[in-house]
């Protein structure tokens, strides 16, 4: 490495250090908080899902259906139940939501949402040739872009990557593999406390995809899509408002 490059990297490191008091540390989404006994403030199991369904149309236009899926009663947040965060359950939910979205039954489109609930954020791409970056490839599918005004990540953790088998519309009877990621939005401030009333934090994140070229011998291309979202505090349906589970029936 040349001296000039070394100097440049050191200068960058210095700049990052200067910015740290303002921006804090941009923590990776794969950190486990729900399952980490040391992280006592991250123990709320979400009761709802913000689901984002992406697909490229033949016209090249991008479909982004989204819908909000609460566990059980959509009309009464006090009755929502915790959504078990084991992989098989999350995969089942993604598959069901993606199947639902394929029918065009979303509640809106695009990103740029205001999130009001502690929730799972699930992103699914209904394309064989587009694959979200994965942890096991040492690449994160979601990176917070502080240079574009985003808060550094201190709220989105417990990410898991999924490969979802879906019916292949181009080959009846066959399945295709689609990629998805599930992230828990803990609705936290930098100090790990819940967002308070009136708190609002803007996040600008980059979604990273590997896109296969039409020529099978060429390497894939990285394509980045840059959505935004805002955490609006205080998080609704805090645990204290949840009805306790019904007692078991008496024999």
């Amino acid at each position: 490495m040349s001296l000039a490059i070394t100097t440049f990297i050191e200068a960058l490191a210095d700049r990052e250090q200067q910015l740290l008091p303002e921006t804090a540390v941009d923590a990776p989404i794969y950190e486990f908080r729900l399952k980490d006994p040391q992280k006592e403030k991250f123990k709320y199991t979400p009761r709802c899902v913000y689901f984002y369904y992406l697909r490229l149309e033949a016209s090249g236009a991008l479909t982004i259906w989204k819908h909000f899926w609460p566990n059980v009663d959509p009309n009464n947040s006090k009755k929502w139940l915790p959504i078990n965060n084991n992989r098989s359950n999350l995969k089942k939910i993604i598959t069901e939501r993606a199947t639902f979205a394929r029918k065009g039954q979303g509640q809106g489109f695009g990103f740029g949402d205001t999130w009001k609930h502690k929730s799972y954020i699930m992103i699914f791409i209904d394309e064989k040739a587009w694959t979200l970056h994965k942890e096991d490839h040492d690449k994160a599918p979601v990176v917070f872009n502080i240079s574009q005004g985003s808060k550094p990540n201190h709220s989105f953790f417990d990410a898991e990557d999924f490969v979802i088998d879906m019916p292949d519309p181009d080959n009846i009877g066959q399945t295709m593999q689609c990629s998805a990621v599930s992230i828990v939005n803990h609705m936290k401030k930098e100090d790990e406390e819940d967002l308070a009333s009136g708190d609002s934090e803007f996040f600008h994140f980059d979604l990273f995809f590997e896109v296969a070229p039409s020529n099978g011998t060429a390497s894939s291309m990285t394509v980045i899509i840059d959505p935004t979202g805002t955490n609006q505090g205080p998080p609704e349906d805090p645990p204290g408002l949840i009805d306790p589970p019904a007692p078991p029936p008496q024999p």
């Binding site: 040349s2 000039a4 490059i5 100097t7 440049f8 990297i9 960058l12 697909r55 490229l56 149309e57 033949a58 016209s59 090249g60 236009a61 991008l62 479909t63 982004i64 489109f109 695009g110 990103f111 740029g112 394309e127 064989k128 040739a129 587009w130 872009n145 240079s147 574009q148 005004g149 181009d170 803007f202 600008h204 980059d206 896109v211 296969a212 070229p213 039409s214 020529n215 011998t217 060429a218 390497s219 291309m221 990285t222 394509v223 980045i224 899509i225 840059d226 959505p227 935004t228 805002t230």
Partner: protein
Amino acid sequence: MLEARESQIQELVAEELAATGASGAPNHDIYEARLTAPGGPAPGFDYVPYCIYFYYVRVDNSGKLRIDHYFDCDGPSDDPTQWQPIPYAAVPGRLRNLALNGRRLAPTSPAPLPDHNFDNIVWSRRSYIAFFFDEVNWQFHTRGGGRSAVAFKPRPGAHPNHTFFDAQDVPLVLPNNFTGIDDTRSAIFFVNHMKKNENGNDFPPTPPESQLFEFEMFLKVQFAETSPNTLTVIFDPTGTNQGPPETP
């Protein structure tokens, strides 16, 4: 929210343009006029290229990216001694022909090169470099829109821009193969002056020297649903200038 996002993208581009590379040299805007400077070419930037590196991009029906490379010159491609300079003003017209040629609806001329990606492109000539996106719903950012279709990233190991200038956004009105109705696709081209450094020095005859550049291409992608909003999609290719440039 959309305005805020667009503002942030502008800031990102501005930040990238303002950034400096390992040498501390500035990272120039590709829209800076050097060959096309209003008072005549800037000193050392008066060479009119004899060729075009043309990159045809589309999203095929399977969602895969098709990236075809073409090399265009005014003369027989196998005999550079017969090539003629391509005036800057003639490039948009040639791009239209190259775009139609890239659709491969008839035998192509020039024929596509065997390369099929944006990784590690090597440029060995002073040239025009052009990117064309054959999708009506994918449009390059434009300077007229206050943004930049291409911005160089002077990351460690990559050079800041000191050689790519005179960019022009080119909307191309082309027939839609499905509807038969003309629509507008977008392209951008700029001049690779094959300069070695910020001072405008040329590469010496020996030894051979290469310089890596990383850049991002910014596109607005339309939502399928009826909406004035768009999403920004970014491609991040690399390219290498291999000096000294071949002649012409």
